[in-house]
Amino acid sequence: MSYGSTIKVPLGPQHPALKEPGNFLFEVDGETVVDVKPRIGYNHRGVEKAFELRTYIQNIYLAERICGICSDAHTTCYTQAIEELLGVEAPPRARYIRVIIAELERIQSHALWVGIAAHEIGFDTLFMYVWRDRETVLDLFEMISGNRIHYAMNTIGGVRRDIHAAMVPKIKKGLDFLEKRLKYYLDVVQTEQTILKRAAGVGVLKPKDAVDLCALGPTLRASGINNDVRADDPYAAYDEVPFNVITHDGCDVSSRMLVRCEEMLESIKAIGYALDHMPEGVIRVRVPMKVPKGEVVSRVEAPRGELIHYAKSNGTTKPERYKVRSPTLGNIPALCKMLLGGYVADIPIVLAGIDPCFSCMDRMAFVDVKKNKGWNWTMQQLRRKYAKK
């Protein structure tokens, strides 16, 4: 019902419904959202400027740290851009390892999301279960790379660590366990009333709006549009590894859950295929420090959607310009559309519906790191301080 007048309700930057800082100014008429204005930038670290000040090798580590959840997507995008500028190609085995890591990452990211979505609708039992099972993937990452989160697998010219024969049965065992659990969760999100009552018909994004507002990834695919960089613009070994692009046409939060759950099952199949068909050979080629003049547009399907990097080199060891556009920024206009006309109570789950990752999105401007005390350490000072220990 309409009350004939509206009030403005700010949400964030610090708010229990947001896992990272972002600000949304809602205009509400009674319980209905009539307008929403996003304000982002609370996580800005000046990454794009920082890219220009570091060498190509240092930038691998910077790209890794754009995001904590989809770190591999960023380094894949970065390394394949620089490889193209250098005119080298990653060896076939490295391209398969990139697929395996990317798909494992997709599973952990989507599982993380299913947990958060369950939490946002007050279904904490599911949240606990999914996150427990997600640990399987993180343990596999630890076995392969030594790290649970920043796996640091990619380097310019290939990958840094091999997947040895002894690891393969362990990965497969983990995936078998996950497959069973994921099938169960797929059933839960389709039949459990707790979820259906909160997710079905909520946060609707019609296919036409999704295209007009340039939505990406699972958000776009849940509006019935078949669009996946892995299939449309294949990179790494995606032209050889078979997988299905999942779409659903419910256009609501429920469809977004289904798309992500089914995508995880597809990822498991793709990893199984890649493990069985991995070519033998070296995992990386040596590359020069200096990158010849040129420019390149590089795309990757990150867990949250299309990730695009633009690199421009000037013939030195540092890039002239490096642009990163993460999927979350691309989904914000679509998110605002979904929130309009919805209830205030549905804001958290609709917001979570696009799987927002603010640290990916906010990477460009400058934040004063000094707080009120005026000191700043350079890399050299840090090295001097800690290298001796």
């Binding site: 340039c214 960089v229 449309d232 420019e295 390149v296 695009i308």
Partner: protein, 157 residues
């Protein structure tokens, strides 16, 4: 590369002298250099007739004295066509394309924040990514701003 060359040919026929040059560095990548005044027509043609409905992002590049604005558009998700134009650093202004592609709204604001490009006709160019109290007229991704300079500026209270 047939599809790519066909798209380039169609664009050449449509834009005529407004098209400066094109490059097709590899499969599924096209770069098109156009004159500033032709932007609206070119984008309209790409969206309506050539089905480049998706705008991936807008990139700004400081060329020294000039700013280049690059629109990365995608054809049904596969071919990326980067349409690019340059504007002077003193008076950088480009017509908005938000009426043709509503999804451009935040990308234009982002380029406005960081490079100071004025998108004429944009509904709201208020700061999107820069912190509150950021000095007016300072566009951090321009090359004239060194890191130390920006640090000094942001630490002043």
């Amino acid at each position: 590369m047939e599809k790519e060359n066909e798209i380039v040919k169609k664009l050449k026929n449509f834009l005529k002298e407004n098209l400066v040059r094109t490059t097709v560095p590899k499969e599924r990548r096209i770069f098109v250099y156009i004159k500033k005044d032709a932007l609206k027509d070119a984008v309209k043609y790409l969206v309506k007739d050539l089905e480049f409905k998706h705008l991936s992002t807008i990139t700004g590049v400081d060329l020294g004295g000039k700013i280049e604005v690059i629109y990365h558009m995608a054809y049904k998700g596969s071919i990326v066509l980067s349409i690019r134009l340059t504007v002077s650093e003193k008076n950088p202004s480009v017509p908005t394309i938000t009426d043709l592609i509503p999804g451009a709204v935040l990308y234009e604001r982002e380029v406005h924040d960081l490079f100071g490009v004025n998108f004429e006709g944009h509904p709201d160019l208020s700061p999107l990514v820069l912190p509150e109290g950021w000095p007016q007229g300072v566009y951090p991704l321009r090359k004239e701003h060194k890191l130390e300079h920006l640090r000094e500026m942001t630490s002043k209270k």
